[in-house]
C-alpha cells in the first residue's frame, strides 16, 4: 500500500516561505495568487494490505514524527 502525506503549517500560523513565494508570484504578474501556503510532501510504501491498519500506522507516523502538531497539520491518501 502506498501513502501520500501532505504536511502544512496550520491555518493562522504565519508561513514566511509561503509569503515570500506569494510576493515572487505577484512580482511575476500572477496577481490572482493569494494565501500561498508552503508544505512538505512525503510518499512511502507500506508493507500492509489492510486499509484500516495502514491508516492507523500512517496516522501514528504523522503524530509521532512526520508532523509537529503544535504548528502543523497533515492529511494523507492511501492507495494500493
Amino acid at each position: 500500500m502506498k501513502a501520500k502525506i501532505h504536511i502544512t503549517l496550520k491555518s493562522g500560523i504565519l508561513d514566511p516561505q509561503g509569503k515570500a513565494i506569494e510576493h515572487a508570484l505577484e512580482t511575476l504578474g500572477f496577481k490572482n495568487a493569494t494565501n500561498v501556503r508552503m508544505g512538505k510532501y512525503l510518499e512511502l510504501e507500506l508493507r500492509e494490505t489492510t486499509k484500516d491498519r495502514a491508516e492507523a500506522e500512517v496516522k501514528a507516523m504523522c503524530e509521532k514524527l512526520l508532523a509537529n502538531t503544535i504548528i502543523e497539520e497533515y492529511r494523507y491518501e492511501l492507495a494500493s
Binding site: 500560523i13 504565519l14 514566511p16 515570500a20 512538505k40 514524527l65 512526520l66 509537529n68 503544535i70 504548528i71
Partner: protein, 238 residues
C-alpha cells in the same frame, strides 16, 4: 562538577561548550555521544547548538529520538539541570521537555549576529548570578528561531515567569524592532514549569571569556555552577 555535553551527529557547538566548562569554569566536561543510554555521574547536561541530523524534516525532530534522549528525559524528571542552546533548544521542544515549537525566521534568513536579551527572571538556577532586568549581549546563529506556542500555553509561560530571556534593545526595551526572528512575545529563552530545564536560541558559549571581547554569556554557566554547588551543600547539610 561534571557537565555532560551531548553530541548528536551534526552538533557543532559541543566543543565550544566543553571549552567553556573546562577552561573558563574549571569544571569537568564530559562529551556524551547520542547513542549513550546513561547519564550517571553527571551533575548537569547541555544540549549544544548545531544541525543535528542536518535539520532534516524539522530542526530537532530526529535528534529527539536518539537513544540518549530517554536518559535526558529521566535526568530532567529527577530534577537534573538541562540547558539547551539553539539546536539544543529546538530538540528540547521537539522532545516535549519544553512547550512550543520553532518556525522559520520571519525574515527567512539565517541570522548570525549579536543580539541583546533581557534577563526576565533572575530567580532560576540558570540566571541566579544575573540581576533581574539585566541586558546581556549574546550572538544568535539560526534560521528557525521564531518561537511559537498556542495562546493558552503562552499565558501560562507568562504567568509562571517561565520566559527567562526576551530579545530587547541595548538599553533593555522589549520592542518589535529588537526581535530578530519574529518570536512570539520576543521570546529568546524559556524554562519548564519545574524550573530545571532551560532552552535559549542565543549562544552564551560563544561569548564567555574576555579574550573574545564579550563575556556576557559566562553569567549563565557560572549561575548553573553556583546552583549546583548550593544544591550539593544542601544535600551535605541534610
Amino acid at each position: 562538577m561534571n557537565f555532560g555535553v551531548i553530541v548528536f551527529p551534526g552538533s557543532n557547538c559541543d566543543h565550544d561548550c566543553v571549552h567553556v566548562i573546562s577552561s573558563v569554569l574549571g569544571q569537568k566536561a564530559t562529551p556524551v555521544w547520542h547513542k549513550e543510554t546513561s547519564l550517571a555521574g553527571l551533575d548537569a547536561v547541555i544540549l549544544p547548538g548545531g544541525f543535528s541530523y542536518g535539520d532534516y524534516l524539522r530542526t530537532g525532530a530526529i535528534a529527539r529520538f536518539s537513544p540518549v534522549m530517554n536518559a535526558v528525559k529521566a535526568f530532567a524528571s529527577e530534577g537534573g539541570m538541562v540547558l539547551g542552546i539553539c539546536n539544543g533548544f529546538q530538540i528540547l521542544l521537539e522532545a516535549g521537555l519544553l512547550p512550543g515549537a520553532m518556525l522559520r525566521n520571519k525574515s527567512l534568513s539565517f541570522m548570525c549576529k549579536d543580539v541583546h536579551i533581557k534577563v526576565e527572571n533572575a530567580a532560576t538556577p540558570f540566571t541566579g548570578l544575573c540581576e533581574s532586568g539585566q541586558v546581556l549581549k549574546v550572538p544568535i546563529a539560526h534560521a528557525d528561531g521564531n518561537y511559537y506556542t498556542d495562546p493558552v500555553t503562552l499565558a501560562a509561560l507568562q504567568a509562571n515567569a517561565q520566559i527567562i530571556f526576551r530579545y530587547c534593545t541595548p538599553d533593555g526595551k522589549v520592542t518589535p524592532d529588537a526581535n530578530p526572528n519574529g518570536s512570539l512575545d520576543n521570546i529568546a529563552g524559556i524554562r519548564n514549569a519545574e524550573g530545571n530545564v532551560l532552552g535559549l536560541m542565543p549562544h552564551p558559549e560563544r561569548c564567555a571569556e574576555d579574550v573574545l571581547g564579550n563575556d556576557d554569556g559566562r553569567a549563565i554557566f557560572l549561575s548553573m555552577l553556583d546552583a549546583l554547588k548550593k544544591a550539593k551543600l544542601k544535600t551535605v547539610v541534610v
